[in-house]
Symmetry: C2
């Protein structure tokens, strides 16, 4: 199982590399269901001129379009999502974590933490209905299991080379370079 996790995260890292080659901030992800790869995503904020097109939103939309083409009902989509595991190279931001919660994803593995925008432990804990009292009293969002720190050094290396390559005067990365474990 541990080796499966590494293999899936390798695929996410590959997506992050493709993002980097397209001059996008290097974040990549994959979605796995029943041991099968069913969606890919990489950050496309520059290409789309849309600051919300994070890797997770790309993968989610790819998957939902596929399920819609297949004619799945809303209930079937919800059931499918509850069996999905997301592997993403950097902790989902607040927007993406809220989206994953609305969709009812089963589990998330991420690489490095996102200390500025992270929604799975760093700034907010949207994955957990329990760990943030100010949220849990009011928000009946679905929690999901979340584990950080899987291949985080590879994710961090990609960020480092991206920002060093591009422009030494560039602002610091939005998704800073921290290793962290969240359960």
């Amino acid at each position: 199982m541990e080796s499966d996790n590494l293999a899936y995260m390798e695929l996410a890292i590959h997506q992050a590399k493709l993002a980097s080659e397209s001059l996008e901030v290097p974040v990549g992800c994959v979605i796995i269901k029943d041991g099968e790869l069913i969606a890919l995503g990489r950050n496309r904020t520059t290409e789309t001129r849309n600051a919300t097109r994070h890797a997770e939103m790309e993968a989610i939309d790819n998957l939902l379009e596929m399920w819609q083409r297949d004619g799945l009902s809303k209930a079937e989509v919800a059931k499918n999502f509850s069996q999905c595991i997301l592997y993403v190279t950097c902790e989902p931001c607040i927007m993406c974590a809220a989206a994953l919660s609305f969709l009812g994803i089963k589990e998330v593995y991420y690489g490095c933490a996102n200390e500025k925008f992270g929604g799975c432990g760093s700034i907010l804990s949207l994955h957990s209905s329990y760990s943030e009292p100010f949220i849990s009293d009011k928000v009946p969002q679905r929690g999901f299991k979340c584990t950080g720190g899987l291949m985080s050094s590879e994710a961090i290396s990609l960020f480092r080379s991206f920002y060093e390559q591009r422009n030494p005067n560039a602002p610091k990365p939005h998704r800073p370079l921290v290793q962290k474990k969240v359960e």
Copy 2:
């Protein structure tokens, strides 16, 4: 100016009515730039089988697709967004508020508060870099001016009729029915 605000919110209410007629939870919005209507959006979560297709995300994507077809650069898109005002019948949820912050919108007016998921005052204050110390220390997201309570009774009426019409045993609305003012 006050009458302009009411006129724009009327258009958002109309979008919410269209959503209701399509058996969607009735939330609608419009985006105004330089006094002109430039985007419409209504909740389409059922039609798209996608729990993230809130009215705001629909309007944002419509707008960004238009600007992409027009060949606008990322900087031009960012500049345009900083001149946009969103009118939405219900307080943006955490996901939508984070998205609006990433995009750098200028201002938001909403109708009724969203006490379960609201990201502009009810649960989190993602519109403000100042009001939530646990956020402001770490998250350099762009704030935006935000005013709630504009035509909230109309927005609430739409929710009420929608939930009463559909199913007396249905769960309570996700966007509960509260009037509130946020500055």
